[in-house]
Symmetry: C2
DNA sequence: CGACTGATTGAGCGATTTCAAGGGTTGTGG
DNA sequence: CCACAACCCTTGAAATCGCTCAATCAGTCG
């Protein structure tokens, strides 16, 4: 198949949460698909669309957007490379929210039909698909707590912790730094606060020497400190124990010695 | 089977979102299960438990509870009769949050093994299970918007609208009234606000003659008004069009004439 | 009849938003 | 390569919303 790299990213993701036989792995890699480039800030799935394909992010960042009646936008999910953004659309093709590329993004589309057929033939793989949706729901539940019951600084810190771990898990963290493609207003749209207040909270996190943020990268300066402030417990991400340990080692070691 | 009534409730639920053949329906009704009574405010699944059964609510109300590091509790989901509370545990048995009965509740437990076997034999039914989890996730996404981007009064109103529709959908609304088993503090725990402030918002909703609340029942007084204030759009509940129309008719007709 | 739990109300405080304006960065076209 | 425009970040001051603390009232269960 043509876009083997993308399918491999997804397979790696599935393998973090499910054990798959060789046959099942091969079936994933043999899925038909096609590639779409989406430019920044473009919706590629709109509310109410009836989709026929599921979208896999290979490169870039995708946000799931919802809207209140008075036009306020809220980001309810973020998807990094390797995420199948709307795997759920296989069983529920009518989109209940819009999908937008945040910055230029590469998408690989896989037909629902192919996914269904494969899942029917290999029930254990079907369960892996289902499990992936369940983990997404667990992330969502954590966002509810975050937005509902955490003070502003912790809210921002928690999202940053989550993205740090998710980027590290897919090998896109560079030492203690990872890509952070959101603007501060978008960060506000996901944490339920004003861009102004996001800015002040970020300033706090910087002052406390917990992180540094420049040119679309965030550097974790004090991982334990950030984690504590955020009340971050990565259990809900369902990552393998050893991977998690490696990530923590990556972020935690060699505390920076900057500033007296 | 012994608890056919409970399984029938669940089957009805599944049929709202999936078309099932006679064989598939029979398979659902033939599932093995056992019954558990849970007294008020008791956790029957704890964080981190490895479960072997999925829990179906037959009677009462169940809340999914999460906790922040500093002990604040947040309710991330509510489950009414007919809901399979943790169907997702079939593919992900380690509980990522606790389940608590809100008031005395009757649970029917179905073994994961039986659900898996049935799903393997009848792939379309397996997809119905998966779909159910997807709808739960859609509800969760809506809660994120609610808690993140709506002012307090609308937040409370939105939850009330959702529960009104969900109770009506399972035939438990009595005219314009439906059971409301949460205390005001619990309502605060789900909407991310203090019980004091919940109280004031409820008072507002009463003053504006949108609803009445007494002895564990809420009566919808002005459905269009409540819906508008809440910005409520039931799309995310994935209910059949005609059922929804019937529910709206039920709530909307015969506006109450009380009080000059 | 107490003892409890839940609902209600008031006053003061603090967190977050709003409004507003200025400075920096990035990308683009000349 | 520069100039410009657009967008993003940053900061301040005032207003608002929701929280905390505290007390009282109303049902409910033994």
């Amino acid at each position: 198949m043509k876009y083997r790299k993308a399918l491999n990213q997804w397979l790696d993701r599935l393998l973090m949460r499910s054990e798959l036989s060789t046959r099942e792995r091969d079936a994933v890699l043999a899925l038909p698909c096609d590639l779409v480039e989406v430019s920044a800030n473009r919706d590629f799935v709109r509310l109410g669309d009836h989709t026929t394909h599921a979208c896999l992010v290979t490169d870039g960042l995708v946000g799931r957007f919802a809207q209140t009646a008075d036009g306020e936008r809220q980001i309810t999910a973020l998807h990094v490379p390797g995420d199948m953004v709307d795997l759920h659309s296989v069983v529920s093709p009518a989109a209940t929210s819009a999908l937008q590329a945040i910055g230029r993004t590469t998408i690989v589309r896989v037909p629902h039909m192919a996914l269904k057929r494969t899942a029917d033939e290999l029930p254990e793989l079907g369960r892996a698909f289902w499990r992936d949706c369940v983990v997404d729901a667990a992330i969502l539940a954590t966002w509810v707590i975050n937005v509902g019951h955490r003070p502003a600084a912790a809210r921002v810190a928690h999202l940053i912790c989550e993205l740090a771990v998710r980027y590290a898990a897919i090998g896109l963290a560079n030492g203690q730094s990872f890509p952070f493609l959101l603007t501060q207003s978008q960060l506000g749209e996901t944490t339920g606060m004003t861009s102004v207040h996001v800015n002040r909270m970020i300033a706090q996190l910087r002052e406390r020497r917990l992180l540094a943020w420049r040119s679309r990268m965030i550097e974790i300066v004090d991982w334990p400190g950030l984690r504590t402030l955020a009340g971050f417990d990565p259990l809900y991400l369902s990552l393998p124990e050893d991977l998690l340990r490696r990530i923590y080692a990556l972020f935690g070691t060699s505390r920076r010695m900057t500033a007296a």
